[in-house]
Symmetry: C2
Subunit: 423 residues, 2 copies
């Protein structure tokens, strides 16, 4: 039975209990959310892990992507990245490997990491087809479903499934005047496949079969936005919204058979369009949890896209997004290193916390008040402990030693807090 089916039958699972305690919310509220599909708890029945809840009324969650590419493959490094991401507070990790040993990376991560693990099984299918027949478009339907089923058996908790790329949406894309075309890798696999084979996307055509697999292992479907905009100019256009409408229908299909579903969203979006995007997803997808990548609010800062997406992510989460996919400073340029992963996770945590505070979440406010008290009391160690990353502020403080505890090198003896207190 899936979490959703249990919730609908009024059964409290161990996972629901764990999530309700962690979120500090009433278990009945959580059950109601899971039963209605407004909350998902990604937790494959085949793997032990510490789950998290994603959706309405819960704190904003963040995901860190790791994974090899055809240009860089180092299994141990990818595992190390995943561990580091969790250490700094990622609630979930996606393995997006596309290197030749992608199956090994995934297995190792599933073994070592305790939080929900997500994947994009079409990568496995495409990479296998390419190594066998020369190109990803040589995938057949079996390749696709075999990858999904294998990964479901291995214990993957949520999977990005690009069922929204259809002959119709690809046609709409061709007729649009998009500047960047498709920038989703999985989306491109399927769009290229559809264009080459002139056939409907098997993940759309045989969606019912896909739901059967998801149901059997309680895999949460993360319905991918293969047509997300790749630059600000392309945001909120017809292909993007047309795909969203398809995804809205797929959410309803999933809910009919007790399969947990969330929906993925853009991408590159100007700040003024973010809240509209969140609202439209919520209406079209009947309040399914929204998992957004970024959004990146300007393309002018390659090397700093953890910041461009922290801006977009904060506003998105405040406007309804439930799950933020981190973006690292290496985005658009290279596969991220360890330091990039850390920076990406912290930037996402900042975005999530900003939103949670603005939404009035109790846990988020309690942390803010603890931190303000530590600052007021010149309790430096207290600040470092509460901080998302205690090491960096500690290093700053140590880099400019001062004589007194209630002083820092920024304002020195002219500290505002000291001055007013002294008088």
């Amino acid at each position: 039975m899936t979490q959703m089916e249990n919730a609908r039958k009024g059964r409290i699972t161990a996972e629901m209990d764990y999530v309700a305690r962690k979120e500090n919310i009433d278990i009945q509220k959580l059950i109601k959310g899971v039963a209605s599909g407004k909350i998902v708890i990604p937790k494959n029945i085949n793997r032990e892990s510490s789950p998290c809840g994603i959706g309405k009324g819960l704190s904003t969650k963040i995901n860190a992507n790791v994974g090899s590419s055809s240009q860089k493959e180092d299994i141990d490094l990818e595992v190390e990245k995943a561990l580091l991401a969790v250490q700094y507070g990622a609630h979930a990790v996606m393995d997006l490997s596309t290197g030749p040993a992608l199956n090994e990376v995934r297995k190792k991560i599933l073994e070592v990491i305790d939080v929900p693990i997500g994947t994009v099984p079409i990568y496995e299918a495409g990479v296998a087809a390419r190594s066998r027949d020369g190109s990803v478009i040589d995938m057949d339907e079996d390749d696709m479903f075999r990858a999904i089923e294998n990964q479901a058996r291995e214990g993957v908790d949520f999977m990005t499934i690009h069922s929204g790329i259809t002959m119709d949406t690809v046609e709409k894309l061709k007729n649009s005047n998009r500047l960047m075309g498709i920038v989703s890798r999985g989306g491109a696999f399927l769009a290229a496949w559809i264009m080459h084979n002139q056939q409907e996307n098997p993940l759309y055509k045989n969606y019912e079969y896909l739901l059967e697999i998801a149901y059997e292992h309680d895999v949460t479907l993360s319905l991918g936005d293969g047509l997300r905009p790749g630059c600000l100019q392309d945001a909120s256009d017809i292909p993007q919204i047309q795909e969203l409408i398809v995804l809205g229908g797929l959410v309803e299909e999933g809910r009919k058979v007790d399969v947990q579903c969330m929906v993925e969203g853009p991408g590159h979006v100007p700040l003024d369009q973010i809240s509209a995007n969140m609202k439209i997803q919520k209406t079209i997808c009947k309040e399914a949890p929204f998992y957004v990548l970024g959004p990146i609010v300007t393309d002018m800062a390659p090397g700093y896209d953890h910041i461009t997406s922290a801006i977009g992510g904060a506003w998105a989460a405040f406007s309804g997004a439930d799950f933020l996919c981190y973006v690292t400073p290496a985005e658009h340029m290279a596969i991220p290193g360890l330091e990039d992963v850390k920076e990406g996770v912290i930037a996402s945590k900042i975005a999530a916390q900003s939103a949670d505070v603005a939404l009035g979440l109790k846990n988020a406010w309690e942390d803010e008040i603890k931190m303000a008290n530590a600052r007021r009391n010149f309790d430096w160690e207290g600040q470092f402990e509460l901080a998302f990353d205690g090491e960096k502020p500690r290093n700053y403080r140590q880099s400019c030693p001062v004589e007194e505890e209630d002083m820092c090198s920024m304002c020195g003896e002219y500290c505002a807090l000291r001055l007013v207190r002294e008088d």
Copy 2:
């Protein structure tokens, strides 16, 4: 004659002409903005510089703070920071030095830096009083006005003046249940002075005299928010808004005598309160340009406050703020180093550009479209040239060499753009 007086008399100054060209807007629109006080052009008559316009309809400007403290004083380093900030795109630089040689730092910066320079003259007065009599509260009225007048003669283009700290606002502060009290250094100088001397703030009492000095040299007054909140819990409270009301009155006084004024704003503000703060400033201060510090949207990330304030700054600028003061990663911890200054400027530029694009500014959109084209065409050098910092993305690309030009190590041969193009 000040820029405002010229504008009111319909005279186009060289500065207005320069600003209108740079902003790509009609000169008459600019003149109207300057005449009404909705736009300021900080440009002291005693110093040559490349001015910028700040206010309604113009692109969002950013300021970088530099300056020594009592704990760390290195004149050359502060000058180097100022140069670096301008190199990365700061439109203005404030020298906030409080070290013993603060006058030397300022003079050097005024000499070397081509953009508008701002200061907080009360620092000079307080530091002088402390070295003479032992404490900043030993300042007298002459110390305060002497500093202002000296700095105006030297060519300082804009000055933070804490005339909003009054016996009344200090009383309101005492009666509030603020968690962090005062966190503005200049604000604390004057609040401590008022509490100790039980006298009205000379910068408020003798505001007319201050206006005379500002008029004579065309110093733009930046009316300081000494009672800005120092943590999220204190945001938008009575002391803050009471001070804003005082500042609104002072703007009107300034406009009567052709003195350019802008208003400074918070601070630490939850995301959901930012647009209300911008709107209230605009109504109370009759659309005077709004210069905000941050706002920082969570206190949980010391060491990363360039990110917390990029989030707040982007939303603030989209909601009406005209001028963003950068915050560096060292904020709250230590005096920033060169790398911190660079990071702070870039984070602020990201915030400003995000807002300008969302507001539909033509120049901002043109840049985005150029960048999108460079990305689509795998024109790496084009991207690096357009980027706010070309070096960082170039280093990423070089760190993971790939065989082909239309490839990066992130997606390798499975690049979405390549896949769809190939087919």
